[in-house]
Each structure stands twice: as C-alpha cells, then as structure tokens.
C-alpha cells in the first residue's frame, strides 16, 4: 500500500495506444448548442441547473411566507403549500444538486483534472444533457398542467401520491413528476457511464489513481453510487406510474376513500419506501462526496499545504460510498417496518460517522501550520466545515434509532438535512465557482460582491437552520401547511418562525447578487491569467485559458507527482504542478 517515491520521472509508463481524434464542430450549432465538448456540456448543465434552482429558491420564499406569517397570504392554500414543498425538495435534491455536481463539475473537471482531451463517449455525453433538459421541461410543464404539480412531498409516498386528497394525485401532476424522474435517470446514466469510464480509461500517462485530486475521487465515487442507486428509483417510478395509469397494485393495498372502496388491493406502500430510500440515502452521499472532494482541494490550494492524510481521505470516500448502501432504512425507523431492523440500521448508520469524522479531522489538520489565504473559496470552505459538522452531528441524533422516535417527522429533521445536504454542499458549490470561474472565463469574480455574498449566505443560513432544530425539538411536525393553534406552540415560537422567514428572504436576495456577479464578471472581471491561485492540478496548466476543445493543446501533459505538492521544502515556489518533471528529495507524495 505504501508507494512513497522519491522521484516521479521513472514511474511514467510509455504511451501504449495512440490518440483518437475528437469530433470537431463544423458550425455555430455544433460548437455552442449540440456540442460534444465536455466543457460546453458542463456549462449547459450548470446553467440549466441554476435556472431551475432559482425556481426552487422562489418556492422556498413562498413556503416561508406561509410559515412565518400564517393566514396573511390567501393565495397560499394548503394545496399550493404542499406543491411548493414538493417541487422545492425534488428540484434541489435531484435537478439542482445532483445535476450540478455531476453533470456540471463532473463534466468540466474530470477530463481536465485527469489529463484527458474529453470524455470518452462525447456523443453520449451530449445526449445526456439534452435528455436532462427534457426532464427539466417536463417537470416545469407540471406547473402549468391542470391541477398543478404534485403535492405529495418530495418522497412521493404512496398511496397518497396518487389519490385525490393530494394535489396532482389524480391529475397530471404526479404523472409528469414520475416521467420527468425516469427521463432524468436515463440522461444521468449516459453521463454517469462517461464519468466513470473516463476516470478509469482516460487518464494521461503518470496519472495513477492515487495521484488524482480528491475532487475526481469524490465525483467518481458518487457517480458509481448513482449508477447503482438510481435504478431503484427508476423501477419505483415505473411501478407507481402503472398503479396510477393502469390500475395495478404494486404499492396499493385495499383502500377506502370518502366512504368508497377503491379497486386496489394487495400492494405494499412500505415496499415503495424501501425502494425510494435504497436510492434516497446513497443520494445524500451522491451530493456529499463531490462536495467532500472539492472542498479538500479548495482547502489544500488556499492553505498552500498538502491535504492531510490523502490515502485515508480516499479510503474514507470509498468506505462512505460503500456503507451508504446499507443504511437506507434509518429514514424508516417509524415507518412501521419490523422493529428489529432498527438495531441493524442504527449500528451501520453510526459506523458511517467514523470515516466521515476522519474527513473532518483531515480538513482541519490541513489548516494546521498552513499558510492560509482567506480568499473567497477558502471562506466558503471554512463555512462548509462549520455547517457540515453541525449537520453531521445532528445526524447522530436521528441515526440513533430511539432518539429518532420523538424527532422524526418534525422540523428538527428539516433543519438537519438542510444544514448537512442543503447549506453545506451549496457552500462548496459557491466556493468551487469562485475557484474555477477564472479557468472557465479567464476572469475573476468581483471580490467585493463575492465577500458580501459569502457573509450574508453563511451567517444567514446558519441563523435560519440552527434555531429551526429547536422548533422541532418542541415537537412541531414538518410539512404542516399551517401551524394553527397547536397547544405546544408558544407565541415566542411564532416570532421565531417569523425571524427564520425574514432571514430566508435576506439570504435569497444575496443569491441574486451572486447571479449578477456571475454575469457581470464575464466581461468586467479582473484578468485572471492561467493559474491565479498558483494551484498544482492539471486544469491550471492548460495552454489556453479558457481551455479550447481538446483541453491541452498539441501534447497531453505527463504527470510526475500527486496533486498536493504545496510548500515542498527545497522547492523555489510554494507549489509544484503535477506535470513538472523535476526531482525534489523532500517531496513525499505518491
């Protein structure tokens, strides 16, 4: 396992196969629209994801209006409220976070970071985006369908998801939702196969697996997980479509609705929950692992120090990925499944805390004796650690089966998962955009606007979600369209809700400033040069910035060292690019 080398040069194998030429665009359409260049596809994915994400942001404002100021806004009926929470949740988890991390960052960074000219199947990669766009359009169409979008909650639990008591249940809403998800999964599979095969087959000479930046490890492992987890959601969606449209009873037992016996019988609602969470829990890590990888690289680069315990970090990513497939039923402790499952799933769930904790230790130990540049990416990385540690620790409440019993289905859960898989990964996305935007455009994002965006987002999001745990601890259930005169709710708790809502509007506003910065800086940002952060990994060593089709000019780079040779004793600069062949006796990477 130990392969510490003194000098990299002799470890570079000769090229075994010749290069294959890329498909070069012949027109404006094939260059910018139906492009097969992973970098263009990445920007298409990111733009679409951010656009639909803005819809989710507006939906969150609408639901906070209702929770913070109940009874004030007549247009927010219970039906509308449930449609808002459902679409907000589904958009954020699937259409924004998954698409942005894998389709966006995955496409842009994998080929550049492993030293490939493009993804291995560029045409399939292009199809992946267009099917994703179709999935988003079908999703958006449900807002305009008769009856509106589904209001079944993002978990879409049957039987209610396809019954009249739920918005969109007997209208087009649920059908469009399920079709959209199926399309998303088809599109993702095309992209996902690309990411995995490119990492396994497309690396340049000298780029061993254990020399890859952790960003690539995180995206790679998350993609493998997604390829294994999404099929469970796919079959669940198809079966529910059959139940809804053809009258089958996969998930539908005998049911009495409004005094009438329905024609269903013999199905199992809890089977859906197992399928859903067999996808749903790995999904948490599908979002988290790319964030783990990216934040490792942000911290290392901006603290000018190698990531501490690289090999442990890789094994922690792989270990978390594997373990995350045997913890799904911790979402179901109070679902009515056999109670003895609780012993098993609580144990596996708390075990996963160990590799996760190791990652946190290694991030903060990377800061120790570093040379910390408080750039905007670094600020976001620090804020990520705070919110991730906070959200991870409340996971120990919810994972520990008996502690989950009073807290399950309360606002405590809402606060927990927003902190850990909402705020924390999104802070990494922001950090990553500030970090890689100069490579994508050649210009830096505006510093003043960026700092404003950081402070409002970090402090505001913490003030939204930290107090929310205590609303849940009181016993306030989640998914209540109206809290009404609940006996346990004091007046002060209503004021707290109003405070949370006001913070949500402020944080949302800061995102508009960020969007403005993204657009404004394309033309007006400061010139960045090829490597503004003085980073080691290959994407910063390209011949042109932004890199052109084919990424690396005439010759592919050859890799002589790992991605973390920062501040190597004896080196003139405080970073040694991966493709620098020089020999440095003090370098102890792989």
């Amino acid at each position: 396992m130990v392969d510490i080398t003194q000098s990299g040069a002799e470890h570079v194998p000769p090229a075994e196969v010749g290069e294959v030429d890329l498909y070069h665009p012949h027109s404006w359409w094939t260059k910018y629209v139906f492009s097969q260049d992973a970098k263009v596809i990445a920007i298409q994915y990111s733009g679409t994801a951010i656009a639909i994400g803005m819809v989710a942001l507006v939906l969150s404002w609408l639901m906070r209006l209702q929770l913070g100021f109940p009874g004030t806004f007549d247009f927010i009926t219970p039906e509308a409220y449930y449609q808002f929470i459902t679409m907000h949740g589904m958009i954020m988890v699937v259409y924004l976070l998954t698409a942005l991390f894998l389709g966006g960052f995955g496409n842009y960074l994998i080929p550049l970071m492993v030293g490939a000219r493009d993804m291995v199947f560029p045409y399939v990669n292009m199809l992946s985006y267009w099917i994703y766009l179709l999935a988003v359009l079908v999703l958006v169409a449900s807002f305009f369908a008769p009856g509106g979008p589904t209001g079944a909650g993002w978990t879409l639990y049957p039987p209610q998801a396809i019954m009249t008591g739920t918005p969109g249940g007997q209208d087009a809403g649920i059908v469009l939702m399920l079709v959209s998800l199926a399309l998303f999964i088809i599109g993702f599979t095309m992209g996902g196969l690309n990411y995995v095969v490119t990492v396994l087959q497309g690396r340049t000479r000298g780029m061993t697996l254990m020399r890859m930046p952790l960003t690539v490890w995180g995206i790679f492992t998350a993609t493998v997980m997604a390829l294994l987890a999404f099929p469970a959601l796919f079959v669940a969606c198809i079966m529910m479509l059959f139940d809804r449209l053809l009258g089958t009873s996969f998930f539908m037992p005998s049911i009495v609705e409004a005094g009438e016996q329905l024609a269903y019988g013999g199905g199992s609602p809890i089977l859906f929950q197992h399928l859903f969470w067999f996808f749903g829990h790995p999904e948490v890590y599908i979002v988290a692992l790319p964030a783990f990888g990216i934040v490792s690289d942000l911290i290392s680069t901006h603290a000018r120090k190698n990531i501490f315990g690289y090999r442990m970090m890789v094994w922690a990513i792989v270990g978390i990925g594997a373990l995350s497939f045997i913890v799904w039923a911790h979402h179901m402790y109070v679902s009515g499944m056999h109670p003895y499952f609780g012993f098993f799933f609580a144990t596996t769930t708390l075990i996963i805390a160990v590799p996760t904790a190791i990652k946190v230790y290694n991030w903060v130990l990377t800061l120790w004796r570093g040379d910390i540049h408080l750039t905007i990416p670094m600020l976001f990385a620090l804020a990520f650690i705070v919110t991730f540690v906070n959200g991870g620790l409340t996971g120990l409440f919810l994972g520990n089966v008996v502690v989950d019993v009073p807290l399950s289905d309360t606002m405590f859960v809402v606060a927990h998962f927003h902190m850990v898989m909402g705020v924390a990964p999104i802070l990494v996305i922001f950090g990553a955009i500030y970090h890689w935007y100069p490579k994508m455009t050649g210009r830096l994002l505006d510093e003043t606007l960026g700092r404003f965006h950081f402070w409002v987002t970090f402090v505001g999001a913490y003030l939204i979600f930290f107090p929310m745990h205590y609303v849940g601890l009181m016993g306030v259930p989640r998914r209540y369209s109206e809290l009404g005169d609940m006996s346990l709710l004091t007046d002060s708790a209503h004021s707290l809700n109003a405070f949370i809502s006001i913070m949500a509007f402020i944080v949302g506003f800061a995102q508009l400033v960020f969007l403005f910065n993204l657009i404004w800086s394309i033309r007006h940002g400061k010139d960045a040069g090829p490597n503004p952060w003085r980073a080691t990994s290959l994407e910063w060593q390209t011949a042109e910035t932004p890199p052109t089709h084919g990424n690396f000019g005439k010759e592919l780079p050859v890799v002589y060292r790992w991605a973390y040779d920062y501040s190597v004793p004896g080196a003139k600069e405080d970073f040694i690019p991966q493709n620098e062949p020089g020999t440095y006796p003090a370098a102890r990477g792989h």
Binding site: W368, V403, P406, Y480, L483
Partner: protein, 271 residues
C-alpha cells in the same frame, strides 16, 4: 481575520442559544424519560465535538493566516495521529449507540400486561377501538368498511361484538397502565404522534403497526398527524385525555359497543 472571530461567535452563540432560549421539549407525560436522557447525552457529546472542531479551526485561521514570507509545513501523513483520532471517534460513537440500542430494545418489547387500544386513521380524522369485557379486540379489515361499519370491524368475529367504538371523538386512557397502541389506516399513511408521550409510529393501510407506553400524568394532550397525508394533514388533530381510574371508568361507561352501534336503529326510523 473577521472569519476567526465569527467562528468563535458561532460556537458561543450556539451554546448560549441552547442554554437560554425558551424553546425546548414539552413536559413529558409517559415512561419514555429514557429517550430524553439519551437525547441529553447526545447533546453533550455532539456539543463538545462541535465546539472543539470549530474553535480549533478558528485558532488555525488566526494563527496560520497568510503573512508575507510565511511558508506552510509539509506533512502528508501522520499514522499515529490518524489512528488515535479514529479510535477516540469510535469510542464516542459507541457511547451514544449503546444506550440508544438499550432503550430501543425496551421500546420494542411490549410488556405482557399492556392493554391493547386500536387507533384507526383516515383522511383526516382519528377513531379508536377498545377491547370490551373479554379483553380482546375482534379482527378487522379495510375491505369491511361501510357507511355503518366505519372501522371495518369483522361482524362475524364474536370477540369484536363487545369492542368499544370511539368514532371521530376523544380517546381516554387510565393513568399508570401500560397500553399497546395498535395502529391502522384505511386510506393513506398517517402517523399517531403525541409530543408529550415521545413515541410515534406510522400507520400503513393494509397493516397493523404498534408502539407502547405508560401514561404518567393526567391531562389533555393533542394528537398530531406526523406523516404527510394530503391537503388536510395539518388539520388532522385529535385529543387523548389521561384520566384517573374513576374518571376513566365513568367515561368508558358512556361509550357504545360495536354490537350496540350495529343494532338496527329504532328511534327515528318510525317516522
């Protein structure tokens, strides 16, 4: 530099909020004080870890901030430190898991002397059924639900004839006696949740789920549905009153049995 200060403030603010904010769990009314204790242990352990990690970060950011001429250390790995941290984390996790599993085994082991009480949920109301003099609930099934037999009690089952049916009204329970709540739904998923009892469980159409508890103080408690069940979810409330034995028996005496309710109605039919 502001970030180091803010990190310290985040820790201090979070702890002060935890200690001084008025928002805390409702006064307990069941035997599950163990669950509260386990939550308290978890708050202590996680609170210490949170403070330690964030304060350490704040120190690093302050102490190792970039200044002209600084250079970072070069230390890729430290086996001893990594092993040591892993072991300490493992011990901390075990310290939360072991008491948790111990209490869970109590939670899922129903005492032999627990009285069965059935809760039936439908969009969007609660009904209840108590065993009659024979101490047994009759069988029931969703397919048997009709306008007259709203809970789907099996009319062929003799055990069910004396069952007390409380349709869309308050449930009363005697103090100090363990009860096993048998949970049924006839339409979608619901969840029977009384915050003061600390326990909750989903109700699944086509299945019977359960939990048990012992009420430990008298009073009126609000039942909340805790599993999204359609547009009326937030309004699906009920009432459980925990009574002294006398009050309980008085209430029980006023209730109708399944046989009484299914008997042909004489009054009013004559007109």
């Amino acid at each position: 530099m502001a970030i180091a200060l803010v990190l310290v403030l985040v820790v201090a603010g979070s702890i002060l909020f935890h200690v001084f904010s008025p928002w805390w769990w409702t006064p307990i009314a069941s035997n599950w004080a163990y669950i509260d204790h386990t939550i308290s242990i978890t708050f202590w352990i996680t609170g210490i870890v949170f403070a330690a990690v964030v304060l350490f970060m704040a120190y690093c950011v302050y102490r190792f901030r970039h200044r002209e001429g600084n250079r970072a250390d070069y230390e890729p790995e430290n086996r001893r430190l990594e092993t040591w941290l892993t072991v300490v984390t493992g011990v901390g996790v075990a310290a939360m898991l072991v008491p948790g599993l111990f209490v869970w085994s109590q939670f899922v082991t129903v005492p032999a002397d627990a009285t069965e009480v059935e809760v039936i949920a439908q969009q969007w109301q609660w009904s209840f059924r108590l065993p009659g003099a024979d101490g047994k609930l009759g069988t029931s099934d969703t397919t048997l639900v009709t306008g007259e037999n709203v809970l789907g009690v099996n009319p062929e089952d003799t055990n069910g004839q004396d069952d007390v049916v409380v349709s869309a009204a308050d449930l009363h329970l005697p103090i100090g006696k363990p009860v096993k709540m048998l949970l049924r739904s006839i339409d979608v998923l619901h969840d029977f949740y009384v915050p003061e009892f600390r326990a909750k469980m989903d109700m699944i159409p086509g299945a019977v789920t359960y939990f048990w508890f012992t009420p430990t103080r008298t009073g009126t408690f609000e039942v909340l549905c805790a599993e999204l069940c359609g547009t009326g979810h937030a309004f699906m409330r009920g009432v459980v009153m925990v009574d002294t034995d006398e009050d309980y028996l008085a209430w029980l005496g006023e209730q109708q049995t399944f046989a009484q309710m299914s008997a042909p109605q004489q009054t009013g039919m004559a007109d």
